[in-house]
Symmetry: C2
Subunit: 326 residues, 2 copies
């Protein structure tokens, strides 16, 4: 039913190849012919069929984006930015959600492989070995984990965690708890490593808790464990957990920041709307989305192996941190 290139060719009295070139290589066709073809195409409502085009060119003009949880407030800004950047470059974006499941991640890459020119793997939970295997099937860009020889964009959470710990130490905190994120997360390891080092340097003790799911519920559930450490300050794997913790603390009547200081990571939208407003390490998620798309699209094979984009983070001090209780 929809008009094909053949219909346009017939209607405008030229060969299909001329119509094809009118769209994919306009400079090769005579301006008069071109405008004639264009106008009949317009009147027939013709639009090139991307699937057919992909079949022969091998380029689909589609990108896959795989995230752990679309509804986790960390991701939407990233998805939005990636989508916007993709479309600006005339690409469409498949979005898929793994529900934090490594197996689903792998299946999704397989399923999307043939349909996209590349896959953006965000905060993957799968092993590096598996990533190595999958990259043979389809070009990959990893977000939130550096992988040897693969283009990646990461946030400098190590620096962020260090800054956060220094901020707390500067407020007099000497016993700090770390609310750990999910197993398999590179970001989590980074935070832990850096926070430990920073605490040591500042003469504070750091008690690591976890692993936990990166959700508000898990943050609330961990309240007990946090209080049990005797810490006067907490650094959480992400804002969602920090906010969950804040909720639980509020319910228990523990005052923040008077009795306990709380720092999150990410600076999601929520963080400046809860009370007390959350002190947090801002990660540039939108920039990450854009960078990932560009990395996928712009980098030719030779450069690709060495491309690692590191985005700076920044401590945003709000109301959930204060001087250590005496």
């Amino acid at each position: 039913m929809p008009a094909t290139i053949r219909d346009v060719a017939r209607a405008s009295g030229v060969h299909v190849s001329t119509v094809s070139r009118t769209f994919s290589a306009p400079h090769l066709v005579n301006p008069d012919t071109r405008s004639r073809v264009l106008s009949t195409a317009e009147s027939l409502g013709y639009r090139p069929n991307r699937a057919a085009r992909a079949l022969i060119t091998g380029r689909t003009h589609n990108i896959g984006l795989i995230v752990a949880d679309i509804a986790n407030p960390f991701f939407p800004p990233l998805i939005k930015a990636a989508e916007s950047q993709s479309r600006q470059r005339d690409y469409h974006l498949f979005v898929a959600d793994t529900n934090e499941d490594p197996v689903a991640e792998e299946q999704l890459v397989h399923a999307l492989a043939k349909q996209v020119d590349g896959v953006l793997l965000c905060s993957p939970r799968m092993s590096n070995d598996l990533i190595e295997k999958l990259r043979k099937e389809v070009p990959l860009v990893v977000v939130n984990r550096p992988v040897e020889g693969l283009p990646a964009v990461v946030m400098d959470v190590a620096d962020g965690a260090r800054t956060a710990i220094e901020h707390l130490a500067g407020l007099g905190h000497r016993a700090i708890a770390l609310l750990g994120g999910p197993r398999g997360s590179w970001t989590n390891r980074e935070i832990r490593r850096s926070a430990t080092a920073a605490a040591k340097a500042a003469g504070a003790t750091l008690t690591a808790l976890g692993p936990y799911q990166p959700t508000e519920a898990a943050g609330s559930a961990a309240c007990e464990a946090v209080l049990a450490t005797g810490a006067t300050a907490v650094l959480a794997y992400n804002d969602l957990m920090a906010i969950g913790l804040l909720e639980a603390l509020h319910d228990r009547g523990v005052r923040v920041p008077e009795e306990l200081s709380v720092v999150g990571i990410d600076d999601i939208m929520l963080s400046r709307l809860v009370r007390p407003k959350l002190t947090t390490v801002a990660t540039p998620t939108a920039a990450a989305g854009r960078a990932a798309v560009d990395l996928l699209l712009h980098h030719d094979e030779e450069h690709r192996s060495t491309a690692l984009v590191t985005l700076q983070t920044q401590l945003v001090i709000r109301e959930s941190t204060g001087p250590a209780p005496v």
Copy 2:
């Protein structure tokens, strides 16, 4: 480079059509042959090329989802549910963001038309006439607006708004302000219509403000206007605006709910985390996402025209509403 159906055929000593049938119509091929084909396919890492398949069958097994703003907290649960439901049915989901721009909506439908089996149009801002035109290009399901003769899923916001107004009236409020949403939104018109009627029935006055963008910033910006109405209670187009308003009120020192009651609509995640916790009309967004996908996939042409799914809403009373000041 990747294995094709032909490679599998050669390696297992059968014709390509047999391989094809092994995957797309297994019951037509001898169990022995089938398992042989399957195992060589497995060892070659063969996966059917969906684009090629789409070319001949006309079914892409892809769905397009168009929303106004991915980062608006209202949408992620809907997107997540739609994605999950799609994948369960062996479909992949394109997600696109229009930035609240009606023109972008139209372009997106055109661009996706050839690549999907249908498009889910969420809270469209475009005119009904345009929708009528676009439906000829690709099957459409509309979310959050009923369109004559088109499958749609809507939330019963009229009932929600009525309930909200009755709740406020029951608390003694007689002057209520309505914080209006964006122009072109069916939901907005519904709310306004129903709230007006409910207010009248309850003997209260309703002052409608707007249109505003459905954002937190717009909610904050409208604070002045709300206070100027002299209302003792506000119903906002959505939670985001209500929360923005809450922020602005807090900054001005207006106490909620003592001096002003605030009700939102949607029950986004944020709403139970802000202080005071927001009283709001919960809309079943995840259910809407699932229903939209099912409507697209299950309904054959004859039923399609009559399919309108209406989802119930529910008032959730929290802390932002209280008795009218005397």
